[in-house]
């Protein structure tokens, strides 16, 4: 990241941090539908998804001599559950709490789990069109490749009140925070459509995932894009 970019990002965080709206801590709209304690998108506490990813991975087989730089096409499928609850009002006009996620991917098959602290940095609006929530989280997790710490940023937006909302997020593990020296990054855009029950929304998402080791070919490396569908709950 360039110095000016870093400075600009910190300045942006600083500016948006000054504008946390002062509201009661449950912060309901008239229907009890919008709450600042919800940490997935704008309206949701949990999500369950089923998805897939296509991409490339090093052509490494157990017991075989690897060819440096050789890659192969891979297709991965996965399921994941995720939740976040922002139940702790801070002394500075924001909400913090806990977040956690777990899932399985294959192939190669692996289980992953992570958890940490979720934070909000900015809330604009109260559930109407273009209501915006910036936030993120930090924590730790593990999968079959490594144990890791992560930081996450996310921006969630109401498109159509009570009907359609969206979220973009980036989760990053730098090599220095990975026991396997992996650089791992997940970028995701989710869209939720509410139809039928008010407590439930249907999700579609696009996701980019990469887990790369520095300078070596590792069988757990992968880089690709994918997507999936799921359900989210209030």
């Amino acid at each position: 990241m360039k110095p000016t970019t870093t400075t600009a990002l910190l300045a942006l965080i600083a500016v948006v941090g000054t504008t946390g709206a002062a509201r009661a801590d449950d912060d309901d709209d008239s229907h009890g539908y919008y709450k600042r304690t919800r940490g997935v998108g704008v309206f949701h506490r949990t999500r369950m998804v089923l998805g897939g990813l296509v991409g490339e991975a090093p052509d490494v087989m157990d017991g075989a001599t690897p060819v440096p730089g050789a890659t192969k096409d891979v297709t991965q499928f996965g399921v994941a559950v995720e939740g976040a609850f922002l139940g702790l009002p801070s002394s500075f006009g924001h909400f913090h709490g806990i977040e956690g996620a777990a899932g399985v991917r294959g192939a190669p098959w692996e289980l992953w789990m992570q958890g940490g602290t979720a934070v909000t940095l900015l809330n604009l609006g109260h559930g109407g069109p273009l209501s915006l929530r910036l936030g993120g989280g930090f924590g730790a997790g593990f999968d079959f490749a490594h144990g890791y710490g992560y930081v996450r940023g996310r921006a969630a937006l109401v498109v159509l009140p009570d009907k359609l909302d969206a979220e973009a997020s980036v989760t990053w593990t730098p090599p220095s925070a990975s026991t396997g020296d992996f650089d791992q990054r997940t970028m995701r855009v989710s869209v939720w459509l509410r139809a039928g029950k008010r407590s439930r929304a249907y999700e579609a998402y696009l996701e980019s995932f990469h887990r790369l080791a520095d300078g070596v070919d590792h069988k757990r490396e992968v880089e690709g894009i994918g997507g999936g569908i799921g359900l989210s709950f209030l």
Binding site: M1, P3, T6, T7, L10, A11, I13, A14, V15, G17, T18, T19, G20, A22, R23, A24, D25, D26, L88, P89, S90, S91, F92, G93, H94, F95, H96, G97, I98, G115, G116, T117, V119, T120, L121, F138, G139, S176, A177
Partner: protein, 306 residues
């Protein structure tokens, strides 16, 4: 200080000055808001919030060996969760796992050997915890974790150092501490921490790498009075005991650089405050050995509170 941290600090200060208008969260049935001073040390001690900021250090910080004139400049980012959930969850998880391991392990193991004819016979008696004892241990663990979450103070402090991404210092790595504690007017906090920082500097014209590793227990006493919070922290670094004498002096490394390992149980004396209810400022002094006051390290931090 180099240009970039100055620019970042300037951005924080400027925007921090704008934050006086920000209001804390209030429930509808709250009374009128308590007027807080513009420079508030108690808010630093008692407030709940996440801090995102920058840190710079010079001189004999714990990441160098000042008696060998090895004093890397450090610059990086600070992430702090004051009185939040992070530290409580991590320490609670460790207590729960430790308790589970203790319950499943043996209570005692006794063995003795004796000669019987041509044979050496060893008899081992392993005693496990009874169900009643396990229940007591579970209750004690539950009480401990309850205590963690009801304790008034907790702190997760992460310092991230970089030479090329978010800092122009000479150090790269991280330093992480988790605290939980209580007490007024003097608060006592403790927990555990770990870290790993590698610095590259020139010592008498020779490229030198200094490595610092930390796994241990931080202990802190602190008090807030008026505009300032004062904290004295001691970091008991268990890894110090495993460093050989040859690694504590400058020696040739494998890659042509000199190497040295920094080891100490450092003391930190910090003074901090919150300005305009949003901007956290902190200045600190580090002593690797209290007997050598001329080899102090100095640090400064600034961050925004969310």
């Amino acid at each position: 200080m180099t240009r970039r941290p100055s620019a970042i600090l300037a951005a924080f200060v400027t925007t921090g000055l704008l934050t006086g208008l920000a209001q804390p969260v209030r429930a509808d049935d709250d009374g009128p808001p308590r007027k807080r001073p513009l420079v508030d040390g108690r808010l630093r001690q008692d407030g709940i919030g996440i801090e995102v900021g920058v840190i710079a250090g010079r001189g004999g910080t714990e990441y160098g060996v000042p008696r060998r004139d090895v004093a890397p400049e450090i610059e990086g980012l600070v992430l702090r969760d004051r009185n939040g959930m992070s530290s409580r969850m991590v320490i609670g998880l460790i207590i729960a796992v430790g308790s589970a391991l203790a319950q499943s392990g043996p209570k005692s193991v006794e063995s003795h050997s004796y000669q019987s004819g041509d044979y050496l016979i060893t008899e081992t008696k392993t005693t496990y915890y009874s169900e009643a004892e396990k229940a007591d241990m579970r209750a004690a663990t539950s009480d401990s974790i309850d205590g963690l979450f009801s304790a008034p103070y907790s702190d997760m402090e992460l310092h991230l150092f970089s030479r090329d991404r978010f800092g122009r210092g000479q150090a790269s790595g991280y330093h992480l501490n988790f605290f939980v504690g209580s007490g007024k007017p003097i608060a006592f906090e403790t927990g555990f921490g770990f870290g790993k920082v590698s610095s590259q500097i020139d010592v008498d014209g020779t490229p030198t790498r200094v490595d610092w590793k930390y796994l241990g227990m931080p202990l802190r006493v602190s008090a807030a009075t008026g505009p300032a919070r004062i904290a004295l922290t001691y970091e008991w670094n268990w890894l110090k005991y495993g460093v050989e004498g040859a690694d504590r002096v400058l020696h040739p490394g494998d890659d042509g650089m000199q190497e040295i390992t920094a080891v100490s149980h450092p003391w930190h004396l910090d003074v901090s405050t919150v300005v305009l209810r949003r901007l956290a400022l902190e200045a600190g002094v580090t002593a690797q050995e209290i007997r050598r006051p001329s080899e102090l390290g100095f640090s400064a931090q600034a961050g925004l509170l969310f």
